[in-house]
Symmetry: none
Subunit: 432 residues, 2 copies
């Protein structure tokens, strides 16, 4: 129907790759967010099996069959989740049994598992539960230690098709204790290594320009991906190779060449947020931080306290959402507020200093700005945000202008303030 791409656009097929197939109407109408596929993809990636494609189809036999046909043309492994429950909309088992021309028979081990499960939770079994012990006779049943629906492994022409329940913790248990070890045994794999470099304070295209020469010099088997999210860009290096030690060394060298180019923008070489990186830094130095927030309305405190163990380095926050509270709780000078307004360098300076003293911490962060959707003026347009960081003898300040929605402006304010603190602690923040 449409023109085909010339051959130079087509890459070579990589061996032993996988298609992840998820089944269920709830995935298509957006009622459930598909976290299973992401988890499976990440686990397969760790053992060097590339995922070629992820497909979600509805609880319809024709769609499931079509997806199986298509997947078997391109992949050696198909991992299926969903549609194994006891209710009438769950048709995966029957469809697979037809597809592999294999009748359903009661499996004694599975029946034993199901019976034990109901005994354990002290609930009676109904007919549909007994049916869960039926599996296609030509499959290898996979035990479900946390639920009632067994998994199934089918083999055909050196290919492997695995069906698992859609309930995340049942699926994860099955993958970890049976499927992943089995795949490791059956398929020869290339090694895959990923390194994530977290950057902030520079936009995607600017970053790309900065590191263009470095990127062009990467060997063919090491690829770079840009994953931008508000004020941060994650750089992901992915390499493939047959010799793991050689590959690791090559990747390490690539990173070492990258670091000096964007030194000021890197805050971690692990896949972690700025709040985690700041926390580690403070913890190493046995230092603490407290926050004074206006426009971010508690979001910075939340971002920080979402890190387990943050009580080791975080003191607390004063969210002075109303101006009179900036005077009353944070002792901002009345004259300052009158003369410069709540969104000003002078105000955030006082807030940062005061919160540091009041909450007895080594650093104080203060944020005041106009998050939107209302409240801007010509002089202080919507999205204007002032940040101050106080330590024992200096207050550093910076003005930002964000141009997004309320929630995004709030998030960008908090992330940028944390990155600013990171640079202040590292001693490489320059007051402009």
């Amino acid at each position: 129907m449409f023109v085909k791409l010339p051959a130079k656009f087509l890459n070579n097929k990589i061996m032993s790759n996988c298609v992840i197939l998820t089944i269920g109407d709830e995935l298509l109408i957006g009622q459930v967010i598909d976290t299973n596929s992401a988890w499976i993809g990440s686990e397969l990636s760790k053992i060097g099996i590339p995922v070629l494609r992820r497909v979600a189809v509805s609880d319809r036999a024709d769609e499931i069959v079509k997806a199986l046909d298509d997947s078997l043309q391109v992949a050696d492994i198909i991992l299926i989740t969903g549609g194994l429950g006891p209710t009438k909309d769950d048709i995966t088992k029957h469809t697979l049994s037809q597809y592999f021309n294999s009748r359903l028979v009661t499996n004694a081990d599975v029946l034993n598992d199901v019976t034990s499960f109901f005994k354990k939770v002290n609930r009676p079994m109904i007919e549909s539960n007994y049916k869960q012990a039926e599996v296609p006779e030509h499959c290898i049943p996979i035990r479900n230690k946390l639920g009632t629906a067994p998994g199934m492994l089918f083999e055909k022409n050196q290919k492997v098709i695995v069906s698992m329940p859609g309930v995340p913790f049942e699926m994860k248990e099955m993958m970890t204790s049976y499927v992943l070890p089995e795949l490791k045994k059956r398929f020869s794999r290339e090694h895959i290594e990923h390194i994530t470099i977290m950057t902030a304070g520079v936009g995607e295209s600017f970053l790309a320009e900065k590191i263009r020469h470095w990127e062009q010099a990467l060997p063919h088997h090491i690829k770079l991906a840009y994953l931008p999210n508000l004020s941060q860009v994650r750089l992901r290096l992915s390499g493939r190779g047959s010799d793991l030690q050689v590959l690791k060394k090559e990747m390490q060298q690539a990173v070492e060449h990258l670091i000096p180019i964007i030194d000021q923008n890197i805050f971690s070489l692990l896949d972690e947020g700025i709040e985690v990186a700041v926390g580690k830094l403070l913890q190493t130095k046995h230092m603490t931080v407290a926050t004074a927030e206006s426009c971010t309305g508690g979001y910075m405190a939340h971002k920080i306290t979402s890190v387990p163990g943050s009580s080791d380095w975080y003191r607390g926050s004063i969210v002075a959402y109303q101006n009179d509270l900036k005077e009353q709780l944070l002792q901002v000078n009345h004259e300052t507020l009158l003369q410069h307004g709540a969104v000003s360098e002078e105000t955030v300076k006082q807030m940062a200093n005061q919160v540091r003293l009041l909450l007895i911490s080594d650093y104080g962060i203060a944020i005041s700005g106009i998050a939107g959707p209302e409240g801007g003026s010509d002089e202080k347009p919507l999205g204007t945000v002032w940040v101050a960081i106080a330590d024992h003898d200096t207050v550093y300040t910076k003005k930002f202008l964000f141009t997004r929605s309320r929630l995004q402006n709030i998030e960008m304010s908090a992330l940028n303030a944390l990155f600013m603190l990171y640079r202040v602690i590292k001693g490489n923040f320059t007051q402009s």
Copy 2:
């Protein structure tokens, strides 16, 4: 290669259906959870366009082409996200341009948008940014109001193929302001009506049991979906019909019959969070609230201040993450902390009273608990959370026991505290 299913397994094709195609290696290796597809599926479902299949493929031209070929065989609409950025790993635009045999030309309107964007954020443009203004000559470019990569709409044999950026807020804006209206215009659909009933304080299965008879009495063309999310269950009624007025009336009647059954649990008949419902209630009564937080670490303040205009009814928060600050900032009695601990009815009572007085508000909410992953004891297991609501003459308290992860326990604490405030204001909270 495998046996085919007999014809009785194949359902009929539904007209005007859609395939969602997401592009990007990060989706396959599980580095990013695909929330875009869920959102798109949910929006399409609202306007009566069924999603037949969701496919995620890597940043490889051959895989993108294969997915397009397959999708065009079964669907009338293909919505693509991802791979439109300015960097080298983004190949969607070039692949589509080849696929539709259409060369890339600079579009004046898009160039104008891109130039304005960089002017607005006050950053210089580099070559790769100019390239973003190039689009295939046979497509309709779609404006990107929040970023630099334009969307593209291709038409072929009455079918529509749309390509959008993968950045969620850019994609959502494009869908809302252009793509969804365009699809509504181009494809004939039945009328679909949705009503959402927001409930809290009751679990999904318990709620289902309570409203079983009502649900069974619903006419065949009106369906109920349960959308549980931590402490809240959204009930979504979806009806289809050819006569819109009749359908609306039937749906309205169904809701009127439901209300008396679960009166105590409903907080809104709009699809809005408890923080919005509480805000409306306070605004109507010209009253204000302030918060004192321990384990929620600023999350409740953030949830409240995420509502635009919340400055009309919200004063601020004291996040006393450390115990000494509960004494110092919130004047909790030293003896109380020694005798009962920070996670106790006595402590939250004092916190709620004090924050109400200190921040000069009509209501004070206080939360103290153990969010995890560490810190539980036999007497106060992990997940124990005390909430107090103070008004001018009473303090209401409630103890919760949550059993989830740190972030979920934090979210459930905040949501339940806000629902508790809702009921206190309504005068139907009963101190147990």
